[in-house]
């Protein structure tokens, strides 16, 4: 029973944690185990949403722009990682780094070419352009690389840990840890560094920020670089985790990440993390205990209910305009 085993080619490593096992025995049925397992599933799914939502929320924070192309930048990141790992045969770290740089530059370029000229236009105009950019990225990729899915090489070990009947994979842990680290890092950057303060100033009032001597263009570019490279990193990680990528893979995660960001309070970095995790957990619990057919509907419904109770998201401040 103990010790490593290989089932279906996957390395399973059992780990014994007394607490969980006893908890399960105490409750006396598998429902408890199932519940914990669903929580794990939810957290792992949620940390993926969070990972994408972090970049989303950053870009939103500075331009108040729902950047619909973010999901597609994530897709491009996945492809860059894929080619780095297959064509160039780079290992994990160089691959992800390359993907981050490429998507970061891509994000900056998109901002420069498509969003910057519209900075003083109605927000919805930029939003429409973002939809255009999104379609452009999707279908250019499709034209160049065909719509067929590609399979990612296993850049990370596919080890599975079993803890008293619960199952966690190494990759899930990596994604969770990476997203937590990034969240902490970003929160620090935004709140405590000069660049972060510049970002907040620009986000509130670009003109006034300029008067402080802040280079608005540079700040926005930087934000797009960081936000997009986060998307790129997410693309590679998720590509490895699910091991299948295709040109339209960004649409749904992009949408979910956006929901996650809004759920947590859009523009707020810990909010993106919280929103992502909550969304993931809710989806898992609903699939697990109610019905998977209504999973997405329920996710949306919960989002709406939370917004109705707290109109600016969970961590959002209820900013009433001072009259």
């Amino acid at each position: 029973m103990y010790g490593r085993s290989i089932r279906y080619g996957v390395l399973h490593i059992p780990i014994e944690i007394e607490g969980i096992r006893r908890g399960a025995i105490m409750l006396g049925d598998t429902l408890f185990l199932q519940f914990i397992q669903q929580l794990i599933n939810g957290i792992s799914l949620g940390s993926i949403y969070a990972l994408i939502a972090l970049g989303y929320t950053m870009v939103y924070g500075i331009m108040k722009l729902i950047n619909f192309a973010h999901g597609d930048v994530y897709m491009v990141g996945a492809y860059v990682g894929f080619f780095a790992a297959t064509a160039v045969r780079l290992p994990f770290f160089p691959s992800i780094l390359l993907a981050m740089v490429v998507t970061g530059v891509l994000g900056m370029a998109v901002e420069r070419l498509a969003y910057k000229p519209l900075r003083h236009s109605p927000k919805i105009a930029i939003l429409t352009t973002a939809i255009g950019v999104s379609l452009f990225l999707e279908y250019t990729t499709m034209l160049v690389l065909t719509p067929q899915p590609r399979t990612f090489p296993p850049l990370l070990p596919e080890t599975i840990y079993t803890v008293g009947g619960l199952i966690v994979s190494f990759q899930q842990l990596v994604i969770l840890v990476v997203s937590i680290i990034l969240m902490i890092l970003l929160t620090y950057v935004v709140n405590h560094t000069k660049m972060g303060k510049a970002m907040r100033a620009v986000s509130y009032d670009p003109d006034a920020a300029q008067l402080m001597g802040i280079n608005v263009d540079k700040t926005i570019s930087f934000t797009f670089f960081v936000g997009s490279s986060l998307a790129g990193a997410a693309g590679v990680l998720v590509g490895i985790y699910y091991n299948s990528i295709e040109p339209l893979m960004g649409i749904m995660p992009g949408m979910k990440a956006f929901i996650a960001a809004v759920l947590g309070g859009i523009g707020i970095i810990p909010g993106a993390m919280a929103g992502g995790l909550i969304l993931g957990i809710v989806e898992a619990l609903i699939s697990g205990f109610i019905s998977s057919t209504f999973r997405d509907a329920a996710a949306f419904a919960i989002l709406i209910i939370i917004l109705l109770i707290k109109p600016t998201g969970l961590l959002g401040k209820n900013e009433h305009e001072k009259v």
Binding site: Y60, K64, I66, F68, A114, P117, L118, S121, P122, I124, A125, L127, T128, T129, I131, G132, V133, S134, L135, F136, E138, Y139, T140, M142, L143, M255, F258, I259, V262, I266, T293, F294, D296, A297, F300, A301, L303, I304, L307, L308, P311, T312, G313, E321, V323
Partner: protein, 324 residues
């Protein structure tokens, strides 16, 4: 006096519509237009209804809705159920679809319209998806396979007629006390409520009216193609409609018409180059937006833009309809 001028304006509007109708009807009945273009003209009519009604929410009232496809779906399915299961006459089914969408729009609008900006956008987008997923899970109306074999009773005449009604109603709403209230909500809702305007009421009003027309479009849609399928009502369609509104110019009805015509036309022409279709469409969208960030018409009506060119100061004639 003024009212006479306004009625005359309505008459001119109807006359022009009739002429346009006659021309197209001729082209269609004489089969000068190929079936492909006949179909695309129908699609244009549908898109005009959808875009101009969404404009009432997004352009006139300044609320950000991304759920129009959901209401369209409700109209499509309810009307299809009416004709197929209850064998109601076509017109009744269409109206039932529109009414159902309106009721749902009202019910959804009341709670959600307290939300603002992007939060409202995501909530409406969610509503649209909830509607779609719900449909997907009702086997009686076909679930994932959708409904097919719906009698194809929507003719060009019907479409055109409904489109004109939509435009006429929207135009006159916008130029009324109610329409001004909607505009004031868009401009500054704190000031609007200080003027005695119940802002929530008018947000819900605009949302409901727009949903009714989206439902109407849905009913016409399902009875034109003979099918109602969940894949026709994804958020991508809501985006499409929004794109038409923005491209035409937020707050401009003629803009919505132009936006709908241009984007549908581009999509149709590009049909011959399937691989490049979406890329070209996307590029054109980006370029058009960069070139005219406020939309083709801005927030003005085409008539005013043209009139303003010809007779300077002509905009000062004090008509209600002209100055928005």
């Amino acid at each position: 006096m003024m009212i006479k001028r306004l009625r005359k304006q309505d008459a001119i509007f109807l006359l022009i519509s009739f002429v346009v109708f006659a021309v197209f009807q001729f082209l269609i009945s004489e089969r000068i237009l190929s079936s492909f273009w006949r179909l695309n003209i129908a699609v244009i009519c549908l898109n005009i209804i959808l875009a101009s009604s969404l404009n009432l929410i997004n352009g006139i009232t300044g609320q950000f809705s991304l759920g129009h496809a959901g209401f369209m779906a409700v109209g499509a399915y309810v009307s299809a159920v009416c004709t197929m299961f209850f064998h109601l006459p076509f017109i009744c089914s269409i109206l039932a679809g529109a009414a159902a969408a309106g009721v749902l729009g009202f019910c959804i609008g009341v709670p959600t319209l307290h939300l603002q900006g992007d939060y409202l956008a995501i909530a409406t987008l969610g509503m649209g998806e909830i509607i779609r997923i719900t449909i997907l899970n009702i086997p009686q109306i076909g679930g994932a396979s959708g409904m097919s074999g719906i009698p194809t009773e929507t003719t060009f005449t019907w479409l055109f007629f409904c489109m004109i009604v939509t435009l006429f109603v929207l135009k006159n709403i916008i130029n009324s006390n109610q329409g001004r209230a909607c505009l004031s909500v868009r401009e500054n809702d704190i000031a609007a409520s200080a003027m005695g305007i119940n802002t929530t009421e008018f947000k819900v009003f605009a949302f409901t009216v727009a949903s009714i027309f989206a439902g109407l479009a849905g009913g016409l849609f399902s009875h034109y193609f003979g099918i109602a399928h969940p894949s026709s009502f994804t958020f991508m369609r809501s985006f499409d409609i929004m794109t038409m509104v923005v491209l035409g110019g937020l707050g401009s009805l003629s803009g919505s018409i132009i936006g709908a015509v241009i984007l549908t036309f581009i999509a149709a022409v590009m049909q011959s180059y399937p691989e490049y279709r979406m890329i070209v469409y996307a590029l054109l969208l980006i370029i058009l937006m960069l070139y005219r960030p406020n939309g083709i018409c801005g927030d003005k009506e085409l008539v005013n833009v043209i009139l303003g060119r010809f007779k300077k100061g002509g905009k000062n004639d004090g008509t209600v309809a002209e100055n928005k």
